[in-house]
């Protein structure tokens, strides 16, 4: 399996978690912080607020690096969820309770092959979304920038999510098994 972009970020984030490697963190920061800032601006923040919140998001990335599970999400996806939650606070949107995290304990690790395939699927999803017809891609972006309400979201998203969902489902089953 070829090592794609996704896997590179996984390796860097693991170095942050395991050895508090500031060079690895700097590489993640350089790539993701401006994207988080742009994401927050697109979501309605002004530049100063977006800068401050993007830094907050990167602080959370450092602190929670050890809880990242590469068999269930890409680093971009994980950072998206942190940025989304920060945006909800920032714009004083409705509270968003979450199901409790299912975490691997310190003794256990996700399966290496699960990580490889999930990261590869995530890379392919980025490519697939980039290739969607313009109109559909814009609707997806608007939804994730928080511009669409539930009733404005299409019943059929037309997103190719079957394979990545199955991968995550499998990884969840292994995690559940390790917990029992």
């Amino acid at each position: 399996m070829r090592a794609g972009k996704g896997l590179k970020w996984v390796t860097l984030l693991r170095r942050v978690a395991d050895t508090q490697d500031t060079d690895a963190f700097a590489a993640l920061f350089e790539h993701f912080a401006p994207r988080v800032k742009a994401f927050l601006i697109k979501s309605g923040a002004d530049h100063a607020m977006a800068e401050e919140c993007a830094q907050d998001v990167m602080v959370t990335v450092w602190r929670k690096a050890g809880q990242f599970d590469a068999s269930r999400a890409s680093v971009a996806t994980w950072i998206f969820t942190i940025a989304r939650n920060r945006r909800i606070d920032m714009l004083r949107r409705d509270r968003r309770p979450e199901p409790e995290d299912l975490n691997w304990g310190p003794e256990e690790e996700p399966d290496q092959l699960d990580i490889l395939s999930l990261q590869q699927e995530s890379d392919q999803l980025v490519a697939a979304i980039a290739e969607l017809p313009e109109k559909q891609r814009v609707m997806i972006e608007r939804a994730y920038f928080g511009e669409l309400s539930h009733s404005e979201i299409a019943d059929e998203t037309g997103l190719p999510l079957g394979t990545i969902k199955s991968r995550i489902r499998l990884a969840l089953e292994r995690l559940r098994h390790s917990l029992s």
Partner: protein, 215 residues
Amino acid sequence: MITHHLSDKLLMAYSTGTLPEAFNLAVATHIAMCDECRARLASFDAVGGAVLEEVSEPSVTMRADALSATLARVKAQPPVQRKVAVPPKDDVIPAPLRDYLGADGEIRWRSLGGGAKQMVLETSEHATARLLFIPAGTAVPDHTHGGLELTLVLQGAFADEHDRFGRGDVEIADEETHHQPVAEMGEDCICLAVTDAPLKFRGLIPRLAQPFLGI
């Protein structure tokens, strides 16, 4: 086994963070019980990751001192250590919902008459969430829906003309839905019901009762 799941629409809206609090609560509570929807949600989060990866604004850069300022902050806050993993408990009230009960975790039921009870949960005014207690074998009053309504079964089961809903199942109803769910015999039914509009009851007596429902 859970057979009635959340819609793609609801999962995507939850992923994008735009649902009213009451709906967020219902989605989170279902996912706490349903790994299939947990995986589906993760796939919608992956779409968010893809959007973040592709959000290109060459004009947007971080301030020159941003990295050093962030590193200074993280030096003061060491990484969180991985906790001992504990399998979540399979309680009647899953974790996301527990925060909405009193500090003692007790459900403060108020009688609706005929053995039925409810507890209205405190959420934002954009939608209403309440726990419903329907005695085994009892019908929920026939009603139509002005907006979107989710009913998530936490204990027991109910059935209407079309389907059966057991623990973890979620019924999604809208303006088109007219139904008369009945709680199954054997076990009292407890549901989390959320709606973005007041319920409209169709019979005379339930209509009189509506003000007491507090919704």
